[in-house]
Symmetry: C2
Subunit: 326 residues, 2 copies
């Protein structure tokens, strides 16, 4: 029954800067489940085909005939360059070298956003209560290596995921302290300051360095978060509080810009680690601090994606949608 | 042939704070044209039915059986309160009192955005060259009484118009002068400062007052624009330059947030009057001043909508779409 299995199954992958995740997405009676979910560290691995071969060697089932690979970097669907700069590959070579009948490359944040509408309580932690407007767009924000932003229009089987560059908007300082931070970063980096300059792993380190009065001396993210989670007053605590306030303001602004009355999903690697330090009341106040639009924002829920397989499921959904439309 | 005419035709209206526009939208072989376009000033008119009766009295053709009314204010499709606060009406009463078989109320900015994809060179003035990405979302921005923002997803017959509240995002000051302006307005108004606080008719007056050092003394918009258009150095000139820079920055940020690689259309009543004072080179530089995203913005065109009937045509398109989906 090898042929039938090949038709039904899809290899999915989520290639980040640090790890690669693989799985086989199996669709049965309209429902997609992931099987053989596997994670490999990328460090020391020469190229993507090597990583893919490791996964395929571990499989005790027929090789799927189709693949959808989500990559942390720009892609036009047929070729990709990972943002880490080391791996470059294209769909045609994957088809040739691994015998796929069909292969699609998509951006990893698009994959994450594609999987968001199917998330439930087991995959997320709600950090702000609210009632989404049915059928309204969702906003997906991911502070990590960068600050990814996407908008999911008409969430569900017929959804459209709009990849955006919302992380690169001008940072909107509200308090004098935030303006001082923006000015300090502007002087240090010699460039205009975007939201991503503060709402990312590097951004967390930059906030910490400016608050400590040593803009050029970046401490590891681990050190800052451990200090913040340790309780009591510390630079790490102040840094994390400022980071979370800026993130809440940014999320509110993105909701307004996108008309995202379906609410907010926050992905990326940073927030799940900061959850124990999050004051949800303060987050909700900062998120809804929008003057005449306060009630608009107060009505909306905000979730943190704690699940690590959302992008894999999203890749399967995005593949299906792309091929259905073709 | 009265019955047939009624089936094919649609009464459309665009009710603003100052004027009401009416027309009969006639659809033939897939193309919609406006007939009997009429404008009435709203000043001194008691209610919308009075205004509608004036238009209907002027018609030398059968009354259409269907109506789509675009209103400057919030609406749920069946009732509306105009932002000017004087007129309130609902679709059921219009059907009862005027014999419409079908009546739909929509927001006027949604109507404008719905008509944007069909605009051509006769209806717009391009103020920045660029090549839009085919099928990508369009961004529609309208500085007027307020600052309207909408996103048009998949522009064309199957488009989705997302009404947003993007005008209410935190104003993102970039230069020290912009931060001083934001601070002065914050102290004066006692509220957080949004983009709309400066990018609107009142906003133009506020910028002028702060630059002149008399934050409480607002001059008429006409005085400011005439000064700016008069040539030479003046407070009006400086005000308009600052307004246009803030608008260009805001448009760039909105494009990034919405992933609007289809480009920007600027509607509303203010820009068409400022066109003679617009330095298109400076506007393009301010629009694309986005660091690593400069090339992303440089690629996109920006148009000003000079046509006054776009919202009427958009109302016809939105009506058709809404009923097709129902």
């Amino acid at each position: 029954m090898r042929g039938r299995s090949k038709d039904r199954d899809l290899l999915v992958a989520d290639i980040g800067g640090t790890n690669s995740r693989f799985a086989i997405a199996v669709s049965e009676t309209g429902r997609t489940t992931l099987q053989r979910v596997t994670r490999f560290a990328n460090a020391g691995v020469e190229d993507f085909p090597t990583q893919l071969t490791r996964f395929l060697s571990s499989l005790d089932m027929p090789l799927p005939a189709r693949a959808c690979i989500a990559v942390a970097g720009p892609t036009d669907g047929s070729s990709a360059l990972l943002t880490n700069g080391r791996w470059q590959f294209d769909a045609a070579a994957l088809k040739r070298d691994f015998g796929f009948a069909d292969a699609l490359l998509i951006n990893d944040f698009t994959a994450l956003a594609s999987g968001v509408h199917a998330l439930d309580d087991a995959h997320t932690q709600r950090i702000k209560r609210g009632r989404p407007v049915t059928g309204a767009p969702l906003c997906v924000i991911g502070p990590g290596t960068g600050l990814g932003v996407a908008c999911v229009v008409s969430p569900g089987p017929t959804q459209t995921v709009i990849p955006t560059e919302g992380g690169h908007v001008d940072l909107a300082a509200v308090t004098s302290q935030e303006w001082s931070l923006k000015q300090a970063l502007h002087e240090q980096l010699g460039t205009r300051i975007s939201a991503e300059h503060v709402l990312s792993g590097e951004g967390l380190r930059r906030i910490d360095a400016v608050l400590r009065g040593e803009p050029g001396s970046l401490r590891p993210v681990e050190t800052i978060t451990q200090e913040a989670l340790g309780g009591g007053e510390s630079w790490g605590r102040r840094t994390v509080d400022q980071f979370l306030t800026l993130l809440a303001r940014f999320a509110g602004n993105t909701v307004l810009s996108q008309g995202a009355r379906g609410g907010v999903y926050i992905g990326g690697g940073i927030l799940p680690r900061l959850l124990p330090a999050l004051d949800t009341g303060q987050f909700a106040r900062d998120f809804s601090d929008k003057g005449v639009m306060a009630a608009y924002c107060e009505a909306l829920p905000v979730h943190v994606i704690t699940d690590t397989e959302t992008a894999l499921r999203g890749a399967a959904m995005a593949f299906q949608q792309t091929r259905d439309r073709a």
